[in-house]
Symmetry: C2
Subunit: 356 residues, 2 copies
């Protein structure tokens, strides 16, 4: 047996936030070096990476130099400008590939893709103007939610429509961006599956986690999630179906609503995912190492869960709790090295571990 990408190779990571930071640390465990490409100065990932390029995504010379220094490219977020991707993909292999980005960058494309796969989604409609919004509201009803098709995260770019009176204001909130109306889903709770697919098509999934959001931001992920055995199987098979359909390589996150009529796919993220951070203290191989293994052509690792974990995000002033958390047993801290505490900013997370 050999390994596809030799030990000592350099992995380029686009984006220098906490996901890039934890990917770089995981890559180091397998003997890889990482080179971070990030427009923002002093990125968190740069503190634990071999090289850092600070440049804009439209800086062609910087992108070219970056490619020359790396053997493969991956990314920590899905909103990389298309022109940058066009340039990069000619110079180095990129995993996950363009199809995964194309689908996940646009909520309309994503929902259509999922429906075409035979999976359940919230009811949705393409919104281009007030008229199409009126028509969509006739069909989908209220309450519903208007979302920009692109560039939304952590609840940004979203407006609730509780009654038709809210429609005009919600549309104005989109600031002219292409949008999507989604019907509300009556779900009992949300879970997510962190799945990995390797270069040779093998698929592995971590145990699904149960997510609690607040103001559109993930607060906690708990494993095990409240799921029946058949729901658990469905969740994993569904994630595998998505990964296979995209010919996906790497780790992906699939958010699911649990309803009385089955699992409904909320969204997919073509990258390591906040709801998979529990794997750092619940598995021999965590989601970050699993991603590195997948994109480098290594065999997927052993992601069996060996502990119950509650992953709690540390957001903004939650950082004031760090001294107390540092003194709590069975509690693993993961801070992101961000200089400034801001409301709503993810500063770190803590895994509360309960062993059997």
């Amino acid at each position: 047996m050999t390994l596809a990408l030799p030990i000592g190779s350099t992995i380029g990571i686009i984006g220098g936030g906490q996901l890039g930071r934890m990917l770089s640390v995981a890559a180091s465990r397998l003997g890889f070096r990482c080179h971070i490409f990030e427009p923002g100065a002093t990125p968190p990932a740069g503190q634990v990476a071999d090289q850092v390029t600070t440049a804009a995504y439209d800086d062609e010379a910087a992108l070219r130099a970056f490619c020359q220094s790396v053997d493969i490219i991956t990314y920590e977020f899905e909103n990389i400008p298309t022109a940058a991707l066009d340039l990069l993909q000619d110079l180095a292999p990129i995993h996950p590939g363009r199809e995964a980005l194309r689908v996940s960058q646009d909520r309309l494309t994503e929902k259509t893709f999922l429906q075409d796969l035979g999976l359940q989604t919230a009811p949705f409609a393409d919104i281009t103007d007030a008229t199409s919004l009126e028509t969509a509201l006739d069909e989908i009803g209220t309450p519903s939610i208007l979302k920009t098709r692109r560039f939304g995260y952590d609840g940004k770019g979203q407006a609730r429509i509780m009654s038709r009176d809210d429609a005009a204001l919600a549309l104005a909130d989109m600031q002219g961006a292409p949008a999507l109306l989604e019907g509300f889903v009556n779900f009992s709770h949300e879970v997510s599956v962190i799945a990995a697919r390797s270069l040779d098509g093998a698929v592995a999934a971590f145990d699904p986690g149960e997510n609690v959001h607040n103001d559109g931001i993930l607060r906690t992920t708990t494993v095990p999630a409240r799921l029946t055995a058949s729901q658990r199987t469905d969740a994993v098979l569904l994630a595998a179906k998505i990964a296979n359909a995209l010919n996906y390589v790497g780790v992906m996150g699939v958010e699911l609503f649990v309803t009385s009529s089955g699992l409904i796919v909320n969204e997919i993220a073509p990258r390591v995912h906040n709801s998979g951070h529990w794997t750092q203290n619940g598995c021999s191989v965590d989601q970050f190492e699993q991603h590195i293994r997948a994109i480098t052509g290594w065999p997927l690792g052993d992601g069996q869960r060996y502990a119950d974990v509650v992953m709690e995000n540390l957001i903004g002033d939650d950082m004031n709790r760090v001294p107390e958390l540092a003194n709590t047993p069975d509690c693993a801290l993961h801070l992101y090295g961000k200089a400034e505490v801001k409301p709503g900013r993810k500063m770190g997370h803590v895994n509360h571990i309960k062993r059997g």
Copy 2:
């Protein structure tokens, strides 16, 4: 409760090998940045550190610049030249402190210190020349082992004396360096205790591990070690006694021989220790994070062991086994990013995990 060294502070690490590498990763989890000072080019630790200085230990300007960029200093190996330490300690706090280095840098000082504490060591004698070696052999007998007082590691600087005929050759091997004759200890096995002492004097120890060496190099550490409950208590108390006597701050390794007449201290290492690598996959807080917590004035972390682990060093051509190990369940790889495989060189380690 507050933390002594604020999150975001920079820790200077002297030495850029695998121990510095894993210290830097652990520090990042607590939000600290690391600056590596290392004479050798492209140090393994530099791949996962915020800053790297490549300079010799007698480069005063580089040492001063290093100190100005860091808030505290620690080290990954104990043989830092005295002149460098004299310069550094005036500019930034160094943990563990000078007393620990003074004692552990010299086998004669170390053995004397341990005896003065009432602990058992192998019989030993100071060797300055052929005459003192003859006298010592009269007293200690053969087989025995001649060791340089300073700068020995991984079996280097040692010569066995199986009979008096070997004495002259063994002494010549020392190349005129101050030496120590040690009597052989009739032990059943070797264990080590990884202990931590915080700035406020709290002491914690990981479960002792059982070590197997080959050609003077550690091959495996197994937890739990074969120890009776009282031996286990003795081992931990003894390590705590040493740490307290040195007013120690940080993690230390204490190697012990298990004999029918009790535990005999082989040597102490004022740093994280190869025999503590199992903690990365057996504890919520590993020895590297424990060291960072101790030197930064954070509370010591939860080092309870939650799994049985066999840590196996990957030395030289053992790297050929990585593809197979990557495909083995319950097996966590930790590679060091060293460019060149050499016989006897520690290239990584693997933790084989067995859960209850």
